[in-house]
Subunit: 410 residues, 2 copies
């Protein structure tokens, strides 16, 4: 195939992760190495930045800056939640034409989009549109999501670091809550609206120690309050300090989110329905049922931005998949999402490939039922073995004044 | 002075910190090195373990185990909240006599208690009682609290690590929340019921970067909702993403805790008053006032147990103060609390001394008003300079399967 000479744009979209900047560094490295690409621009706030022409020339970033970027949380280019119109008809067509006008103005022949489901949808539409108008360019998606719920890939960049943060923090909370002898329940609420991959990581310490959460509830199994109370009773027989890991997305059999306030039913002084959160709802339920000390902990944003505790494996793979995206584009691919393929052997090995985006965008990959025990209150050893290699290794961070140093474009 | 030969007991009490095990390792090292002490026992769950005679011989711990112990969160010996009776009269006397009976049975001549205010109270009473009955022994308190609110010492062991966790996490949250362009407020609730030392650490990144929380509220200044709204208005003029750090203990001028539900006034379906927490209360207030996106984050237990992000300075000092406690006791001191004394020079230097416990127990050291700006919505540079050296340095951790390795006595 003939080489396609031109410039490139890379953008970031959707919720930040600890590894999305590592992938950005990978794309930039790949573009610098690629002789068909002259200038590589970073679009501020994803596709919004393309439309607004807020483009930063990142072709001359130093090795030192790229290293720092790899260890910086959040999206260094900024992010957006913009979805492209559903088709190319009438009014809708204008958005696509506006984007192409910018591409033509800057001689853009390569577009790399790092993001989740919505971003892959953007990649699918843009590649379809450019083909339909005969504008020769390569559009490639690079996945990221801490949720690990994208189809077609062994796992997603960003998941390993989030899993490492959750497993490490859970182990520290388990040590902390064990110091007293009074009966107490600690409920740890973990991100994951539809898929329980993050919550599944809470028990990783059980592979190496005798310390693990007593109960682990995922959204893949309907949540039952009576079973929950019975599970707690049983756990109290073992020790006075019971620790529960629960996905924010757990629902009862009728589909109601546990955190939606069905249990608490609270409203505030302004009349708002009180969306207390799943952990808080369970805290109130346990307090009412057992009358013991209860605490709920929402791990919250640090799950996706605690770069000080990133997984080296995750960061290395995230750089590699970004670089591979450029190679795939340079070799002629378009309308693809980059994916991880795990080797079949005993030892963990990961390969990088690309897959047609149409089969992937908007599909959700849940935790398979066989990765969850029969009772639905913990994950299996097989599940933990799948996650375990993804959290291995610690990045070499640069500190200033005791704080990790970050990279910033501004 | 003649040497006092005998055995020693060390115990841990009160809420865990990241550094309380480092102090324990320091006391154990000191006791092993001290030729007057034959056997050193660890009492499980503090003074409760003395009464129950659940004593562990820790005299033969290996260097490897002691190193691991230094990097283990929570209280490895377990903790308690037990307060000794207020005097030695009638019924009350029995508890003290029971303790002395155990001391005599095990030939205990040294008692080291690592803890906060309540534990220093125990040290004060025990040393007074042993003197009153003429039982020759040395009772020394070693402070610990993440709150940094003990009087008589420059700072407390455990504070530096908590401050490092808060400053690092805040910096990561600031990066994360800055990626979108929509108007949003993020409220970060930080521990500290009466003293704002922990919240003051939230802005440490401003010493090295242009990234810092917009507003910082401490319990030392009465919280005013109208001022808060005006502060937010002003912050929005600078950027769309405003981040607020707030102590859990902030109170309005009439002394009511902001988190007590005055604003939300909510009750749940069981009729419980809804103690939403300070962050949640402010989240609701901002949502009502500005109608923008608001998120509250409670940093919660990781503030006191995130040993993976401990301050090396804090851990080193915590070991030293434990060791120094044994030296002080061996040289004849009793009824004392060990303290840190900061050097007067430019460069940070810390010395260790002891102080009479009676003047210290139960006194609270707040953030001085001159460390807070006039408006009461941030701390001063002097305040940050006081905290800055305490978070320097990172411990060398041992990892297994990507998770920090911990020490356990069981």
């Amino acid at each position: 195939m003939e080489k396609l000479y031109g410039n490139a744009i890379v953008g970031q979209s959707g919720g930040p992760t600890t590894a999305i900047n590592a992938t950005l560094a990978g794309v930039i490295r790949g573009a610098i190495e690629c002789d068909a690409i002259k200038t590589v621009y970073g679009a501020k706030n994803g596709i919004e930045g393309v439309l607004k022409k807020t483009l930063i020339d990142v072709s001359n970033m130093t090795e030192e800056d790229l290293k720092l970027l790899e260890n910086t949380p959040a999206a260094a280019l900024g992010s957006c939640r913009k979805k492209l119109p559903k088709d190319f008809e009438g009014e809708n067509r204008k958005t696509f034409e506006d984007i192409i006008a910018v591409f033509k103005e800057f001689d853009i022949r390569y577009f790399f989009y790092i993001g989740g489901n919505d971003s892959m949808d953007t990649v699918a539409k843009l590649s379809k549109f450019t083909k339909s108008i005969g504008y020769d360019m390569r559009v490639i998606g690079v996945p990221k999501t801490i949720d690990n719920d994208l189809a077609g890939t062994d796992h997603t960049p960003g998941y390993g670091s989030a899993a490492k943060y959750i497993a490490t923090t859970m182990q520290e909370i388990l040590r902390d809550t064990a110091v007293y002898t009074v009966k107490a329940v600690t409920i740890v609420e973990i991100m994951g609206r539809d898929a329980g991959w993050l919550t599944a990581a809470a028990g990783l310490s059980s592979l190496y120690t005798n310390v693990e959460p007593d109960l682990v509830y995922l959204p893949e199994v309907p949540f039952d309050f009576d079973n929950f109370y019975a599970d707690l009773e049983k756990a109290f027989e073992k020790h006075p300090n019971v620790v529960v890991a629960v996905s924010e997305g757990v629902r009862t059999a009728d589909g109601t989110y546990v955190g939606e306030g069905t249990q608490s039913g609270a409203t505030d002084a302004f009349g708002h329905k009180y969306l207390s959160g799943t952990g808080k709802a369970l805290e109130l339920a346990v307090k009412d049922k057992f009358g013991c000390k209860v605490r709920s902990i929402e791990l919250n944003l640090p799950q996706r931005c605690a770069s000080h505790l990133a997984s080296k494996t995750d960061l290395t793979e995230s750089v590699s998949i970004g670089r591979a995206a450029v190679k795939a584009a340079a070799s002629g691919e378009t309308g693809k999402m980059m994916i991880f393929v795990r080797g079949e052997g005993e030892a963990y090995e990961i390969g990088i490939d690309s897959a047609d985006i149409s089969g992937i965008a908007n599909a959700v990959r849940s935790v398979p039922r066989e990765y969850i025990n029969e009772r639905g209150n913990n994950v299996t050893k097989e599940c933990l073995s799948y996650i375990a290699p993804l959290i291995i290794g610690e990045p070499e961070l640069t500190f200033e004044g005791g704080l990790p140093k970050h990279f910033s474009f501004s």
